[in-house]
């Protein structure tokens, strides 16, 4: 696969901005993976029964007896001012921390109702920090649907942690974004093979491993949806390493190359560290590219992973993206991706789901990437779909997952081909 830029990329492609019904999750959803990633953290949503129901439904199964997230459900007396919401919150937090002495970080997570009634969770966090420090560190951020879409919740969470990270002048690399443990380990191994270090992760698995940050910190995003976190790190003096995202062989190589350039890694060392996994990744992707090549692709907005994925599917799997929808297009963070994405697809930001469904029906793509609310109805209408949420819940970054990532898209097509043979009259 060539690393050359396409003759015509999407850097200057106009974006169709839509405003209407959005068929997307709110930022609370990020709690589902964040609470597994940060093993001594508890996420307390201050919200309504809807918030609790969303977390339960999106998590799918209740595999955890007492999960490290919960909802402080606002009741009528809280709204009518009969009970002081802050006193109530302090009481619930006190009870929670008494029952869970293993909790070292507590996130108060704002929701639509708490934002609308203007419950000041920043002050509440300050107050609770006074009461529970140093054993527990209390943060707050908003995962409300009126302000955040799906993965923006993780962005808000990490951004909330940045101001209280300790200061340092040590030159370190900070990798930003919650990655599955297996992926994080591979990432660290690759960076070690390049001789880059010390390397820190944000978020860290445990509170005492949280990174320090300062003007000698170089950081690189591992997820495309971390705009606010990047801005918060910039304010701490850290400098961002711009790169495409590590999806696929090419994305991973360019991501590592950007780090290598920033840390002065010699080309010979880079080649030695990456040659074997690159070859493996290419081979693994090729197995699926045969199924995907030449097929058209339509991405509904979901996780902000859409543009990097469209780039991967177009350049490494030979697919033809027709529309790449994304809930939010962060131009600066997406620039290296847009330069690589071959011209052709409509880029849309935001959503008017009914109009987008009309466009989709008119194009009738070979593969549709969409949320769970749309997948079965589109399948029933004859379209092959890939549920987008799996892309967030599955290890898909870096070389060793490149084949798995391609497989997520080829499987629906292979499955349809298999089932087409069955049920014959």
């Amino acid at each position: 696969m060539s690393l050359d830029l396409p003759a015509l990329g999407c850097a200057t492609t106009p974006v169709l901005k839509e405003r209407g019904q959005r068929e997307v999750f709110c930022g609370l959803t990020g709690i589902i993976w964040l609470h597994r990633k940060m093993q001594d953290a508890f996420f307390l949503v201050v919200g309504s029964r809807t918030c609790a129901h969303l977390l339960q439904s999106a998590a799918g199964v209740m595999i955890f007896a007492e999960p490290r997230f919960g909802t402080a459900i606002l009741e009528e007396k809280d709204l009518a001012g009969l009970a002081d919401a802050n006193t109530e919150l302090d009481r619930e937090v006190g009870r929670l921390l008494a029952r869970r002495p293993d909790i070292r970080q507590l996130f108060l997570v704002g929701s639509c109702p708490s934002e609308v009634i203007k419950l000041d969770l920043a002050r509440a966090a300050e107050r609770l920090n006074g009461a529970h420090a140093p054993h527990v560190r209390v943060y707050n951020y908003s995962g409300s649907g009126i302000e955040t879409t799906f993965t923006q919740g993780e962005d808000a969470c990490l951004a909330a942690m940045v101001p209280s990270l300790p200061a340092t002048d040590v030159a370190e690399l900070l990798v930003v974004g919650a990655l599955p443990d297996v992926v994080e380990d591979q990432c660290l191994a690759l960076l070690a093979a390049l001789g880059v270090g010390p390397v820190r992760m944000l978020p860290a698995r445990r509170s005492h491993e949280m990174p320090a940050v300062g003007r000698n910190t170089r950081y690189i995003l591992a997820q495309p949806f971390l705009g606010d976190t990047a801005a918060a790190l910039d304010r701490r003096g850290a400098r961002r390493i711009a790169a495409p995202f590590p999806f696929g062989e090419e994305g991973t190589t360019l991501w590592l190359q950007a780090v290598a350039d920033a840390f002065g890694v010699m080309p010979a060392r880079f080649d030695a560290a990456t040659a074997a996994p690159r070859a493996r990744a290419r081979k693994a992707v090729a197995a699926h590219a045969a199924t995907l090549s030449g097929r058209s692709l339509f991405l509904f907005p979901d996780s902000q992973l859409e543009i990097p994925l469209a780039r991967f599917l177009a350049r490494e799997c030979g697919m033809r993206p027709l529309e790449g929808g994304t809930p939010l297009l962060h131009r600066a963070l997406r620039a290296p991706e847009l330069a690589l994405l071959p011209q052709g697809p409509v880029l849309s930001e935001g959503q008017d789901v009914d109009r987008q469904l009309d466009r989709h029906a008119a194009l009738s793509p070979d593969l549709t990437v969409c949320g769970l609310g749309l997948a079965n109805p589109l399948e029933a209408a004859g379209h092959a779909t890939k549920w987008a949420i799996e892309l967030v819940f599955t290890p898909v970054h870096f070389y060793e997952q490149a084949g798995d990532l391609a497989g997520l898209f080829s499987r629906p097509l292979r499955r349809r081909a298999l089932l087409a043979q069955g049920g014959a009259a």
Partner: protein, 507 residues
């Protein structure tokens, strides 16, 4: 403010969505922020629906709050009307929109659309999903149903079946078939499968069958008042309840309750000697009140289990549940706090849980088998096969479903005979479940163990003997023995004491 980890019911607007999604030719506009659209996936994924729920969300954002959310709502209603051309529109608000007080009903009516617009009152901070479904269906019926002449033939309406209901699809088919055998045709089944125009015809039925009080009682009561239609009180789940239901229909209609029972196998399956081992098995029941009350009757009278605990999460039906619990001689548990349910189950140490998907998880943790009898639903509760809970086929289905998780008769004997056998130790679990046997130590940790009171002490022999008692009754045996010993001033429990206590408590 109340800390909640898991919930049995969603918010009321999800109940409204269950009614809207069950029906045809109806559209619901919800004033709600982005993110509330998650509820779509309940229908498309759990129930595998092949259409999007007929619901438009206004998905307002923070920037709209300062501006004009009311205009947003009006344009969403107008757009939904133009695009979907429904026979009627429902308009409501989710929890957040309730706070901004836009009066969705009033705004929608101001559009002067050519279809009825039914506003919904869904108090999100006080009520829950079942209330929302009942209230929505009630509001629709109030808006559309009118008294009218009865049909010539004897007909009834089936009330309460919704989308995302526990086996509603098959219950409707089963009850329709049973009623047909009696000579009663179904005029309208609603909400499931009905259009708003169908609701206008509700009044011509001779009576109503209330399938699910949780979601249909408001409408049934209204129709009794407004259209003079009596409604059935018996929920036909179980053999006895089905026969009572048919007798009730016979009283209302004057028809004979005699129907063909050749397909009914549950009574013989229960009477056959293979089922002897089911006698007195201790069961704990939890779910919605309707299913729990019916299941308790089946458990006690049709299968021969012992009901050791029962409860429901919906306060609306708490009174009926309390009455039933009294009849079964147990304390009623009315709570929507999942941890409280878990504690009650651990304390009762049942051999089988009949519960919801929540209790299935509790059962996994406590090492107690569980069969699911009630919503909240899971993708597993929508089987491809015909699988009703109601009527005679429902009774057959229930027998199979409840017995399947249990250790089978002969296996149980082997477990008792060879308690310390490395394969057949009691933590190994039933052999027909395919799960790998777990190490004994781990399972022990999951079993609720009652700590010795401190006043009495267990001698090593007695402690070893206690371990030979099946794990699901061990906590109770320990507690009983200690109580027995304490009452007699015995400070050290021997094997002798253990068996004396056993004899004392034997019935």
């Amino acid at each position: 403010m109340k800390l909640t980890l898991w919930t049995y019911e969603g918010p009321p607007h999800v109940g409204a969505m269950r009614v809207a999604t069950a029906m045809k030719g109806l559209h619901l506009v919800l004033h709600a922020p982005q993110g509330d659209t998650y509820a779509d996936l309940l229908f498309t994924m759990i129930e595998r629906r092949d259409h999007r729920p007929p619901v438009t969300f206004t998905t307002f954002q923070a920037s709209d709050l300062g501006a004009d959310t009311a205009t947003l709502l009006k344009s969403a209603v107008a757009a939904a009307h133009d695009r979907f051309r429904p026979q009627a529109l429902l308009v409501g608000a989710s929890c957040t929109a309730e706070l901004i007080q836009d009066d969705p009903g009033g705004l929608a009516r101001a559009l002067n659309l050519d279809v009825p617009v039914v506003p919904l009152e869904l108090p999100s901070y006080a009520r829950k999903e079942n209330f929302g479904a009942d209230e929505t269906f009630h509001a629709l019926v109030r808006a559309l149903a009118v008294p009218m002449p009865r049909t010539e033939a004897i007909t009834c309406n089936l009330l309460g079946a919704t989308a995302l209901g526990f086996r509603h699809r098959d219950d409707v088919a089963e009850i329709t078939r049973l009623l047909a055998q009696m000579g009663v045709a179904v005029n309208v089944c609603a909400p499931l499968g009905a259009t708003p125009d169908d609701l206008r015809r509700l009044g011509q039925a001779h009576f109503n069958v209330l399938l699910y009080p949780e979601t249909g009682e408001g409408a049934a009561r209204y129709l009794e008042r407004a259209c003079g239609q009596p409604y059935t009180r018996t929920v036909p789940i179980g053999v006895g309840a089905t026969r009572d239901f048919l007798a009730e229909v016979a009283r209302i209609t004057g028809l004979s309750a005699a129907v063909d029972e050749t397909g009914l196998r549950q009574p013989w399956w229960s009477a056959s000697v293979d089922s002897t081992y089911l006698t007195g098995k201790r069961v704990f029941l939890f779910g919605d009140a309707t299913h729990v009350i019916a299941a308790a009757r089946i458990a006690a009278q049709e299968i021969g289990f012992e009901v050791v605990g029962m409860g429901c999460y919906n306060r609306e039906q708490a009174r009926a549940l309390r009455t039933a619990a009294q009849a079964h001689g147990v304390e009623p548990l009315v709570t929507d706090d999942y941890l409280e349910v878990e504690a009650a189950i651990a304390a009762a140490a049942p051999e089988l849980i009949l519960g919801t998907q929540m209790e299935r998880h509790i059962g996994k943790r406590l090492g107690i088998p569980c069969a699911v009898i009630s919503a909240p639903v899971h993708v597993q509760d929508f089987p491809a096969r015909y699988s009703p809970q109601m009527g005679f086929e429902g009774a057959n289905v229930i027998f199979d479903t409840w017995v399947h998780p249990l250790v089978m008769g002969l296996e149980e004997h082997l477990l008792t005979m060879f308690r310390e056998d490395f394969e057949f130790h009691d933590a190994a679990g039933p052999s027909h479940h395919g799960a790998k046997a777990v190490a004994r130590e781990e399972t022990e940790a999951a079993i609720p163990v009652v700590q010795p009171s401190g006043e009495v002490r267990w001698l090593p022999d007695a402690e070893r003997e206690l371990k030979k008692i099946p794990f699901f009754v061990r906590a109770k045996a320990r507690r009983n023995t200690e109580t027995f010993a304490a009452a007699r001033g015995v400070a050290a429990i021997s094997v002798e004491t253990l068996y004396e206590a056993k004899a004392h408590y034997a019935r």
